[in-house]
Structures are given as C-alpha cells and as structure tokens.
C-alpha cells in the first residue's frame, strides 16, 4: 500500500483539528499576555461554549445564531466571574499558586456543567447543511471550512486588538512591564479582568465551532485545553501568531504521524513534540516575548 496516497486527506483532517487547537491556544495566549497566568480552565470555556449553546438551542428553543451569541456572552461573564472570584483575591500570590487556582476552577466548571447539563456528550447541528465537498481526492465537511474562516477572522480581530488599540497595548504592558504600566496609570487588575473576558469569549467561539463535528461532553475540556497549551508553547508562548501556527503544526503532525505509527500512540505524538521543542528551542517556533533567550 502506497503510504503517500493518504497524505492529502490526512492533511485536510489535520488542518481542521489544528484550527481547533489554534483557537484554544489563542485563548491561553490572550490571558497570558495580560497577566502571565496560564489559565488551565481555558479548555472548560471551550466546553461551556458548546454545551450552553446546545442547551439554549434544545431546551430553550432559541434560534441558532441567537443561542450561539447568548452562549458567548454567558461564557464571557463566567470568565469575568472567574477573575473576580478566583484570580483577583489571589492577586498578591505567586504565579504558581494562580496556576493551581485555575486548575481548581477548571475542575469546578467541568463538574458543575456535568451536574447542570448532564454528562452525556452533545452534538450541535452544522452551521450549513449539505454533504461533504470533494476536492479531487479529498473530501471535507462544510463545517471545517467554517472553522478555518472563523479562526482567520478571530486572529485578525485579536491582532487588531493587541497592536492597534490602546486597550490591547495596555493589556500587554501590564504583563511585560508591570512597574511601567503602574507609572502610566494603567489599572493592571482591570486589564487582567478584561483579558479573562476576551480569553473566555475566544474559547466559547471555539466550542461552538467544534461541537457540530467533535462532540462535546462535560469532561472534554481537559484534553482540548492540554492540546491547546502544547500548541501555544510550540508556536511561541505569548504570541497570537505563534498560537495559530503551533495549533496547525500540532494538528497536522498528529494526523500525519498515523502514516508511520499505529493509531494507539496518536496522543503521545503531541507530548513528544512538546518535549523536543522544549529541548531544542524552548522559545517555540516563532520565539516568545516572555522567555528570555539569554537564560537558555
């Protein structure tokens, strides 16, 4: 059997799942740019986005776009609440303690979701119906194209936010130079508060995009969060473009690895890649503003 014949279709599948990793990674990066916090509840925002939309659609019978919009708003509010209830009271603690706190918040959010919305996995209807499109030998779902387009739009929006607005620059400044930010009168707590909202919103959008293809259950946030984190580190911790690139590299590498190794080891690929990156290029592919290269 010719191994190379699989590659176009595997690439297509890898790019779709890569876009999802990229979206989760973007959420990680948004929060870490403003506060240096690694928010391990990011995967839970993704899960909540999908599950709350499902609930609004099926139990409350709202129209699809409306349900999605309200779900995003609810998840953003949850992001704000997480800052107010978990991060703000611990603002004087070290980053390590904050990391533990976000881990606790993630367990809380996933269990609560299981209690309120049930534990069975859920699937949303696709955005646009229709059969898979075939381009040459490859067949793709219309939903995959939606995912790619939305990832692209979100990336542009986040880029504009962080490089073209005072707000975005203030967010970044409060993380890279806290003293300077204080001297300029930037409220760092407010910036972290807003970053949690943006991060949660990006997560919720990712959740709504993926639930039609990959089912979402109360516990599916954990593995997505982990993969997104690996993607963010891989691309360059703290860079939006790095997160996107890392996501796609990870997704494609996972899919292509199947040509060479049995599928049982698929999940290990992500961790092997992470280890290799940490050994040979700890700053990630595009370099990280937070990791001082002189230390390595």
């Amino acid at each position: 059997m010719n191994l190379w014949a699989y590659i176009p279709q595997l690439l297509a599948s890898g790019i779709t799942i890569g876009a999802i990793y990229a979206l989760v990674a973007l959420g990680f990066v948004t929060i870490s740019r403003a506060s240096q916090i690694i928010n391990f509840a990011q995967g839970e925002f993704v899960m909540l986005g999908g599950i709350i939309t499902f609930f609004l659609l099926k139990a409350v019978n709202l129209p699809y776009p409306f349900a999605a919009l309200i779900a995003i708003v609810i998840v953003i509010l949850i992001g704000f609440m997480m800052h107010v209830l978990v991060i703000y009271p611990l603002r004087k603690a070290s980053v390590l303690i904050l990391l533990m706190a976000t881990l606790g918040a993630s367990i809380f959010l996933s269990s609560t979701s299981g209690l309120i919305f049930g534990t069975l996995p859920k699937a949303l209807p696709p955005f646009s119906s229709g059969s898979p499109l075939s381009i040459g030998e490859i067949s793709v779902l219309p939903q995959s194209i939606w995912i790619l387009l939305s990832t692209f739009v979100l990336l542009i929006l986040l880029h504009l936010l962080s490089h073209r607005t005072v707000l975005g620059k203030a967010m970044e400044a409060s993380s890279t130079d806290p003293l300077g930010a204080d001297l300029l009168g930037i409220s760092r707590n407010l910036m972290v508060f807003l970053a949690f909202g943006v991060g949660a919103g990006v997560g919720a959008v990712a959740g709504i995009l993926i639930t039609p293809i990959f089912f979402t259950s109360y516990s599916s946030g954990t593995i997505l969060g982990l993969k997104g984190f690996i993607a963010a580190v891989l691309g360059g911790w703290g860079k939006n473009s790095g997160a996107i690139l890392g996501g796609f590299v990870l997704g494609v590498a996972e899919a292509l690895s199947l040509v060479f190794i049995p599928s049982g080891y698929k999940d290990a690929v992500a961790f092997v890649i992470l280890l290799l990156i940490l050994y040979f290029r700890p700053k990630g592919i595009l370099g990280s503003p937070f990791i001082d290269s002189r230390r390595w």
Binding site: L120, A255, L258, G264
Partner: protein, 398 residues
C-alpha cells in the same frame, strides 16, 4: 408558665421519640433484605445510572407494596463509586462488612468489574454485574459473580447471523482498544469464519476518548476498496460509535455499517444524526419495546414495565432500565427460592439455579457453568431508520 411550656415540650419530645422508635415495627413485621448498589452515579455515565436507579427504586417499591418477599421488604442501599476503581473497591468492602446485606449490584463498566468481582469472591458475597465481562475475567470462573447483560459471545453470534442474513461475505472490523471491544471483534471473526465469511480485523484501533477517527479511517479506506469489503463493523461503545459513522460517511465510504448492542441508545442517534441511518446491530428487546412479537415470552414483562416507567418518570424503557428491572427481578426470584434461611450463601445457590425467569432482556437461565444467563434468541435485529430504532426480521434467522 415557663415550666408548663417546658414540660409540654419535653412530653411531646418523648412522644416523638417513642413514635419514631416504635413505628418501623408496625410497618414491617420482618427485617428487610438489604441489597447494596455500587454504581457510577457521578462521572461520564451519571445520566445512564440515574435511569438505572429510578428503575430499581420503582421495582423495589412495587415489590414492597405487594408485601415484599415472604413479608420481608427489600431495601436498596446506594453508594456512588464515581467511576473510580478505588471507590468501587471501598464500596463493596463496606457492603460486605454489613452482614444484613445479601448481595451487591454493580459496578456498571467493564474496566471496573475485575476488582469488584475479586473482592466478592474473597468475601463470599453475590455480585451482580451489569455490563458483559471480557474473556479474561470470565475465564476466572468466579463462583460469586453473575452477569446480566448479553455476553460478547452471544452478541457476536447474533451479529454473524445478521451478516449471513444480509449475505455479507467480507467484513472489516475496527475495534476500540479495550478488552471487551477486542473480544467482540475476535468472536465475530471466529463465528463468521466458521460460517464461511472472511473477516479482517483492522490493525488500527481507537480509544474511547478519541474525538476524531478520520486519520484511522483514511488508512482503512483503501482496504475497504481493494478487498471489496461488504460490511464495516464498528466494535465500540459510547460516543466513538457515532463518530466513526460520521467520519466514514464524510470520507465518502458507502459500505453498510454494523454496530454492537451499545448502539441501542437514543443519545447515540442524536449524536450521529444522518450518518446513523441504515446502521444495523443486534440488541436486547427493551430497545424496541413496542415492536415485539405477539407470542414473545417476555412481551408482557416489557410492555408492563414500559407502562409503569412512563407513568412514574414520563419516559419509556431502554436497555439500561431493562437491566435494572432484570437485576431486581432476579434478586426477588432468588430470594423466594432460597433453601431455608436467607443467607449470602443460600442466596447465591438460589440465584445460580434460576431457570426460565422471564425478564425484560429475555429468559434467564443460570447454571454452575453459565453465569451470563441469556442466549442468542433473547436478542433482536435493529436498524436505525428515520432517527428511530426499527426492528428488522429475517425468515430463517429471526
């Protein structure tokens, strides 16, 4: 005034204590038979086990209202094992310490069973397990453990019958990477090849947590085309079932799909949507409670239980509610047949001698060599059509 109030309070308090102490003696003349229930009430199967608890409570209340078993009411003691092996072990150990507890029902999942069964064997208490066991566990021939679901052997035999009825000659099996799914695949190959089929078991596997099977299926697609595979068998349970069906259809593979009895749940159709159309499998009768034959021996049991579930909870029965009903019914039947005083050991012997008990999932016959109870004839062929389970019949195969 105050003293009077105080005395009045004291008097009513004493009356209350007396009533509380004395009343059980009036309601139940004889001590209850306690049954421990050790299930995954939290974790991924929380919704499924909730149905199970509802159905068990319904049945036990009905039995107790009708006077219990020879005047003894049945009492269920629920413990949550949280899908966690250590808590499974802790719960069953706790149950064994209470000498009023006669038997333990649960756990549910295949991978939690081995521990529970081993403890039951050591402590000499009957353990009724919900899911089928994998061959490694069954090979231990444990005296105290009983299964109530269809075993991997009869499920595979039924599926081979279905394949023969559909005249499938070549099958490709894509199984999950856990022992039960693997043994379903291997038995299907064994029984299928005895009947002249060609069965290929895929080298690719999937994990229950995989969210995308496309990469594996891309590798299988050329095999399906080259070997002219007639049917694709997804030997799996839970969400991977619908994921495989959707991914396979997305890749443009139109081969018919066979599933396991774990496809017989409403939520599986809801997840898979259109991709589930035409999927066929063999499953227990409670999947299609309204489509059983007029002369089916278990039809009255299924219809009656379905009606009572609808009255109490507003939803009809499914396979899980059926298992819950069958567990309680087996326990009631065995308690009635206990020789002499009801103890853990007489209960076990009575349960092992269950013969011809008509339950939701079929007619149960246990023997010292068979702790699975059901046979191939207790299953029906199901096809998913129009988003619903539809029974299909074949003249020679039923």
């Amino acid at each position: 005034m105050t003293t009077f109030k105080g005395k009045g309070f004291l008097f009513s308090f004493l009356v209350l204590i007396f009533v509380a102490w004395a009343s059980p003696a009036y309601v139940a003349e004889k001590s209850p038979y306690k049954i421990g229930v050790n299930l995954e009430f939290t974790g991924p199967w929380a919704e499924v086990t909730k149905t199970m608890k509802n159905a068990m409570v319904l049945e036990v209340e009905r039995i107790n209202k009708m006077g219990g078993v020879d005047g003894h009411p049945i009492e269920l003691i629920f413990e949550d094992n949280g899908f966690d092996l250590t808590r499974v072990a802790a719960n069953i150990t706790k149950f064994t310490k209470d000498n009023k507890i006669i038997a333990v029902v649960g756990p549910f999942e295949d991978n939690l069973q081995a521990t529970s069964r081993a403890i039951a064997e050591r402590e000499k208490i009957t353990n009724i397990i919900i899911c089928p066991s994998n061959p490694q566990v069954r090979a231990l021939k444990q005296k105290w453990a009983f299964n109530i679901a269809q075993s991997d052997i009869i499920v595979s035999q039924k599926l081979v019958d279905l394949s023969l009825a559909r005249k499938y000659k070549k099958a490709l099996v894509f199984h999950a990477a856990h022992p039960l799914a693997q043994s379903l695949a291997e038995y299907y190959k064994k029984f299928g090849e005895e009947k002249g089929m060609k069965v290929i078991i895929s080298k690719e596997t999937h994990k229950p947590t995989d969210i995308d099977m496309t990469p594996q299926l891309i590798k299988l697609k050329p095999i399906i085309e080259k070997e002219k595979i007639d049917v694709f068998y997804a030997s799996t349970a839970g969400p991977p079932g619908p994921i495989i069906c959707r991914n396979l259809r997305t890749l443009g593979v139109k081969t018919p799909i066979l599933g396991t009895h774990a496809f017989g749940f409403g939520f599986i159709i809801a997840l898979g949507g259109e991709a589930m159309e035409g999927v066929e499998f063999g499953a227990g009768k409670p999947v299609v409670p309204d489509q059983l034959d007029e002369n089916d021996p278990v039809r009255p049991v299924v219809t009656d239980f379905d009606k009572r579930m609808r009255e109490r909870y507003g939803v009809g029965i499914d396979q899980i509610a059926g298992h819950a009903h069958d567990a309680i019914s087996l326990i009631e039947d065995a308690l009635k047949r206990c020789q002499g005083k009801v103890t853990r050991s007489t209960f076990r012997d009575a349960l092992e001698n269950t013969k011809g008990l008509k339950n939701c999932h079929g007619v149960y016959n246990y023997s010292p060599t068979d702790h699975d109870g059901l046979s191939k004839t207790d299953m029906v062929f199901i096809r998913i059509e129009g988003g619903k389970f539809k029974r299909v019949r074949f003249p020679r195969f039923e």
